[in-house]
Amino acid sequence: MAITTRQQDGFTMPELEYLAQCERVAIVPLHRMERLELVTGTVGPFRPPQKAVVPLWLAVMLKRASRCRIVAPDWLRYEHLRTLCCEEDQPDSLFTRLPHHYLEIAHVLLTNAEDDIVDAQGIRRLLQDLRETRQSKTREGLKMLNSLQLQMDNLSAAEINEIRPLFARSFDMLRRLDALAATGEQTQRQAHASDSHYSELDDTFGSSFAY
């Protein structure tokens, strides 16, 4: 297969990071550099100490070459994350609003630009808390799943990717049960099929029956 089995169940972490690194962040360049026309958009000119906005991947490259300082986004500040944690913890609260790739961006910044982030250790802790609170809310959501739709605003890319296999499988299971309940005829057919020890095989090879 042109993609791996890991990739069939959603995105891999490196792939999510790839997508996240297309998002833009502010940097303070440490060297002058002219405007650059990139396939992924125009950046610069860089005139220290004026801020510039660049894709995250470029910010990381420049940072590693000691050519810039990265300005941590507002949502990645300690005070802000603490408020979010409180909101997230309210009973019956919704998911708080964060960038779609907040976990990946935070990971990339904390790994590559720790010294540009005030209280990186505290922020790591808060992110962990936030993530765990959101995970337990997600589990609550699974109970509300039906076979038509469930609204789950503000779940982030990584969070969706994490719950995808379980939610998708549960959703499809509910769908099949609904379909069975809806038509007696199908129920009969199912009963007919299950009298054979081959029915398990049919399940196993259902998708690989074709050549």
Partner: protein, 242 residues
């Protein structure tokens, strides 16, 4: 702005409300919400002016998540590769720092194109026979993909024949039949499988189920639902898979 009573909306199963609740602490996401092309999104997006890069990124993510093969974004692929070609020729003349940046930029675009094409090949292999027969899907493939699909089908058939079909009675050599329990040999994508989607531009009231009340789909709302239900919204670019 809607402040979320969790389960207030009749007919809508939801445990997450509209993104715009509780105004005070809202983040405006100054950096992160901008698309790589640098263009700010307005609520109603102008498709014609959309940059090829965000378009192909979305196409890639959609393709990986959709159960069926989607329309091939050939123009975006070609435009981007033309830019890649142009940029690649600039690299040698640049100082090391700039050259390194240009190289990374070009490599990232190539990675996207490659991932997109490979995701499609993997899907084509999954239901190759069906895709090569159904005019809807034939049109969704590039010429190269269609050639690949046909070659892939022929290869599989040949293998099955040589391995055992030729040893079966002639009546049993068909690779296109329906078993007694209704299972078909030629598999089709299951368009009712679950997908996660995000609303790109406000849809308004939308009927998920004919027997239930419609649900309002606003920009940035996220739903898990059957692919078949939002299929046409995806084709119109009103929602994206995530």
């Amino acid at each position: 702005m809607e402040t979320g009573d969790l389960y207030s909306e009749a007919g809508s199963a939801r445990f997450a409300g509209d993104g715009s609740h509780g105004g005070a602490m809202d983040v405006e996401e100054p950096e992160s919400s901008a698309r790589p092309g640098g263009r700010e999104e307005s609520d109603e997006e102008d498709e014609s002016a959309e940059d090829d890069l965000p378009l192909l990124m979305r196409a890639w993510v959609n393709e990986r998540n959709a159960p069926e093969l989607l329309h091939y974004e050939g123009t975006a692929v070609e435009n981007l590769m033309e830019l890649v070609d142009f940029q690649t020729r600039q690299i040698a003349a640049q100082p090391a720092v700039v050259a390194n940046i240009l190289k990374m930029d070009v490599d990232r675009v190539k990675y996207l194109v490659r991932s997109y094409l490979r995701a499609r090949l993997a899907k084509i292999e999954l239901h190759a026979v069906h895709y090569t027969r159904d005019p809807l899907y034939r049109e969704r493939m590039s010429q190269n993909e269609l050639d690949y699909a046909k070659g892939f089908v022929a290869l599989g058939e040949k293998h099955m024949r040589r391995s055992f079909l030729d040893q079966l009675p002639p009546h049993l050599r068909s690779l296109d039949e329906t078993a007694g329990n209704g299972m078909e040999m030629v598999t089709k994508p299951d368009v009712d499988t679950a997908v996660f989607c995000r609303v790109r531009s406000t849809v308004g009231e939308f009927q998920f189920d004919p027997s239930e009340d419609p649900i309002v789909m606003r920009r940035n709302n996220i739903f898990i639902t059957r692919y078949s239900i939002i299929r046409s919204l995806l084709e119109d670019g009103k929602v994206e898979l995530i």
